[in-house]
């Protein structure tokens, strides 16, 4: 099967406009004849569901949460990018496009990234109209701040809770449509299987998490907005229930998986406290606007940070990357921290941390200004660590955060399964091999508000649909398959807990498929994952009943999927013999330890086709750069 990216022809500035004109339309009166199922209620899912319902489609929304507002987009702190150029510092759609493409280390499609930048301004307009309380200047107009990988201020923010406010905006739009009866909302439902009829996505099987009942949902198209898969690492900044099950089950039905090894390790997270840790906490990248990152110049210096004089501190990001300083992109900042710690300069009890210090900014701007900008983050830090960051530098360390990889989609956001759309972090996305800060919110809302609502209409208008109801044999088949899977899980009755096995997988992923990778380690990881998967299916223990609220069973299903996805991530990382963005292969680095990209051989999207567990076929979508010539990405 050939991968068709469906990128429209013409100059990049006109592609999206022309494409919109060429898309077939569904007339207003006909829209209500189409049923669209949206899975997930984060920024992408909520915004898509609301927009589709406003257009007149029949929309069904599923979320495994008790309320749509709980989706993990809520936890995004720092902000959302747009090319408004309000600060008059030279921004433009083209520059946002350029920065994002470069930030992704030239492993994304030009046309997609340009479109993302193009709709970014509409997103801000939409959110303000919904009542999102963005930060403002005294004149009443919107304020901006800077994020990593940009030399200007284009990030809109609502204190340290931008994701929360944007999600509540999308949630309010979704809720309005629920109240109007145009969206049927099903909470506490987890998608387990995709239903296909005549090769098209026509519905799904979901488990009612309260009763354990399997339920059938039928429609003309299915939209997955189910987020990323960083929980494959067990410890990550993702919420505890984030999982890959929906996209993974779709992958096993024929949706190709794009660039699974492109994962982002976020530089500013709280360090590990010990074995009892359940997740890692992110501290917004915005802190790097005013915080300076350093380690002692002397290895193993055990002095209290405030006793280490200025001359004995190494502000290594400012030293190595003078033009971006503390605002280098995430992949670069993370690797630099790891390098410092690996070389013995790390601080704290474990030596696996670096300082993020605000004392200079507090001296320069006053404590009040810092409190206004980051008050809630400082409070969060103190709550977790017991240290007061106004007085003692924060200790930070990188942690798995975001997955650029995901299901492969064409320019219309459709996967390789007709009628199956994938939006937000769940798709392989516009971020290439590394996502810039404040771009995830932008992409989720771009997909949901301004891209999918157009492109899905073209699919609906240009296909003939045989009527499919939930009593169709494919629904019966898929429901039985899911029933069997649950029965199999419940009947193992082994000795190890789900979390125990998940922790072990996480350690393999972090050690061998984490911040830096090499061929030997990846081969070892593949073997270890296979063995662990066998162990899981022989020795996992799930108490309770499947016909009840059973949180252990929920987790077991997700871990079973991670145990397959983890192997594909390692396979993908092993095949990509280059370093780019978040994917750092130790064999491919420059003399000073920077990523060495290989455009000759690897300027493509790796899209993996599932054959059976442990067996995938690689398809390549070549990346063509007409506007921005890939160059060595330098932030020095």
């Amino acid at each position: 099967m050939a991968l068709e990216s469906k990128i429209p022809s013409g100059p990049i500035q006109e592609k999206w406009t022309n494409h919109k004109f060429n898309l077939k339309l569904v007339s207003p009166a006909n829209k209500r004849r189409y049923d669209i199922i949206v899975v997930g209620t984060g920024l992408a899912g909520s915004s898509a569901a609301a927009s589709l319902a406003e257009l007149g489609y029949n929309v069904t929304v599923l979320t495994f949460h008790d309320s749509p507002r709980r989706a993990h987009s809520i936890a995004a702190q720092g902000g959302i990018n747009a090319a408004k150029n309000y600060p008059n510092d030279g921004d433009s759609i083209y520059r946002l496009f350029y920065d994002t493409l470069k930030g992704g280390d030239y492993r994304a499609r030009e046309a997609n990234v340009y479109r993302l930048a193009e709709v970014s301004n509409n997103i801000i307009d939409q959110c303000v109209a919904q009542g999102v309380p963005f930060a403002r200047e005294y004149g009443g107009l919107l304020d901006n701040r800077s994020f990593g990988g940009a030399q200007l201020s284009r990030t809109f923010y609502a204190r340290g809770q931008t994701g929360q406010q944007l999600l509540l905006g999308a949630y309010s739009a979704l809720s309005r449509q629920v109240g109007l009866g145009r969206i049927k909302l099903y909470t506490r439902r987890e998608m387990l299987g995709l239903v296909m009829v005549d090769g098209m996505a026509r519905g799904l099987i979901a488990r009612n998490l309260l009763t354990g009942e399997l339920e059938r949902f039928a429609g003309h198209a299915v939209v997955l907005a189910t987020g990323g898969y960083s929980r494959v690492f067990y410890l990550s900044t993702n919420a505890m229930n984030c999982n890959a099950t929906a996209i993974w089950r779709a992958h096993k039905k024929g949706a190709f998986f794009g660039n699974p090894c492109f994962t982002q390790i976020h530089p500013t997270c709280l360090p590990l406290h010990g074995e009892q840790q359940s997740k890692l906490t992110l501290m917004s990248e915005s802190l790097r606007n005013d915080g300076r990152i350093w380690v002692p110049k002397q290895k193993g210096d055990k002095r209290h940070p405030n006793e280490i004089p200025e001359s004995e501190r190494d502000y290594y990001l400012e030293r190595i990357y003078p033009s971006y300083g503390n605002l280098t992109p995430r992949d670069i900042a993370s690797r630099a921290a790891k390098r410092m710690c690996d070389e013995g300069y790390g601080v704290g009890e474990t030596g696996q941390a670096v300082y993020l210090d605000f004392s200079d900014s507090i001296k320069r701007l006053g404590k009040k200004v810092i409190e206004e900008r980051y008050g809630n983050l400082f409070q969060m830090y103190e709550m977790i660590t017991g240290d007061n960051p106004y007085e003692v530098p924060m200790k930070i360390y990188p942690a798995p955060h975001y997955t650029m990889g995901g299901l492969w989609v064409d320019y219309n956001l459709m996967s390789t399964i007709p009628g199956l759309y994938v939006i937000g972090e769940a798709n392989f996305s516009d971020h290439g091999a590394n996502r810039l800060g404040a771009s995830a919110l932008m992409q989720g809302l771009a997909d949901g508000y301004f891209i999918l609502p157009y492109t899905i209409g073209d699919y609906l208008a240009s296909h003939k649909f045989t009527p499919v109801k939930t009593d169709h044999e494919e629904f019966v088949k898929e429901e039985n398959a899911q029933k069997d899977l649950i029965k199999r899980l419940m009947s193992i009755n082994g000795k190890r807990t789900v979390d125990d096995l998940h922790r072990e997988l996480g350690k393999i992923m972090w050690n061998y498929v984490g911040m830096s990778r090499n061929a030997e380690g990846l081969k070892k990881a593949i073997q270890m994952i296979k063995e662990l998967r066998e162990e899981f299916w022989k020795n996992v223990k799930i108490p309770g009943d499947a016909q009840d609220l059973n949180q252990t069973l929920e987790r077991a299903g997700r871990v079973a999927d991670f145990l397959e996805l983890g192997e594909l991530m390692a396979i993908d990382a092993l095949h990509r013999n280059e370093s780019c963005g978040g994917h750092f292969r130790e064999e491919y680095q420059t003399e000073d330890g920077e990523a060495k990209r290989d455009d000759e051989n690897f300027a493509y999207v790796a899209a993996w086709e599932f054959k059976e567990v442990g067996d995938w076929v690689l398809h390549k979508e070549p990346l063509v750069f007409e506007y921005v010539k890939p160059s060595t990405r330098s932030y020095k």
């Binding site: 005294y138 240290d387 807990t497």
Partner: protein, 256 residues
């Protein structure tokens, strides 16, 4: 911070289903690091239960950063535990002493029926938002973002109110199980912004009507909601809600 180990006795509310009788059961949490969070302590207890083949304690949680609003339980009589301004997931074990006995119960309110153990049904909050907690603006119809300036002071007050995470601690804390703090936070957030003004009157009336319909109690100015709110939403929002409500009743021609 150096870590110490704690041994604790837990008295946890166990209830098999909405219509089953619940009771406190005793569990022991041993060798818990003071650096661990309260929920990590519960995870450890649950993992031991699972290893023994027993049903773990059902409780809800997700982001573990205090922002999603999923977690929530009554710890020693207080929603989200003994500290102010945090959610359950932000509570850390360093605030407990070795040998402590800790009582853990679900949020209790008529409008939040217990589903299982510590899990309650808070969908009533969604229904209140669906009734009117929004600005009616379709995708694509928004004007340029900077075309309407917003007084910084109002934007800040709106943000204070919008910080609500919908956890329900206010309802659990209130002797009347009132949802006034929750409703007032949304009404205030949108009434303070020029974008929210066209629907100012209808919004407050619809939300209050829905709140009453769903079985939440009245506000009698106890103030427990403010004291227990993890986001420290101020009770002055309730004053604003009352003002908005009477203003709307006085001015509007909404049909009952």
């Amino acid at each position: 911070m150096s870590s110490k180990k704690l041994n604790l006795t837990l008295k946890v509310w166990r209830q098999a289903g909405p219509n089953e009788k619940g009771e406190f059961k005793t569990y022991y949490a041993n060798n818990i690091s003071t650096e661990a969070s309260f929920l990590e302590m519960l995870d450890i207890v649950n993992e031991e239960l699972e290893a023994r083949g027993e049903d773990p304690i059902a409780y809800e949680h997700d982001c573990r950063e205090g922002i999603c609003g999923t977690c929530g339980m009554v710890i020693n009589g207080r929603p989200h535990g003994p500290l102010q301004g945090i959610t359950t997931c932000q509570l850390h074990m360093r605030h407990f002493k070795d040998g402590d006995v800790i009582y853990i119960e679900p949020f209790r309110a008529k409008a939040f029926p217990v589903i299982k153990d510590l899990v309650v049904d808070r969908s009533a909050f969604d229904k209140i938002i669906q009734a009117g907690g929004f600005i009616s603006v379709n995708t694509g119809s928004a004007p340029e973002a900077n075309s309407i300036p917003v007084k910084k002071e109002n934007a800040e007050l709106a943000m204070d109110a919008a910080a609500c995470i919908g956890c329900g601690a206010c309802v659990a804390a209130c002797p009347n199980a009132s949802a006034m703090l929750f409703v007032s936070a949304k009404v205030s957030h949108l009434a303070l912004l020029p974008q929210g003004l066209p629907e100012r009157e209808i919004r407050v009336q619809k939300m209050v009507a829905k709140m009453d319909e769903l079985g939440f109690g009245n506000c009698s100015n106890v103030g427990a909601c403010e004291a227990e709110c993890p986001k420290e939403i101020k009770i002055t929002n309730i004053a604003r809600l009352n003002r908005e409500f009477y203003r709307a009743r006085f001015l509007s021609n909404v049909e009952e």
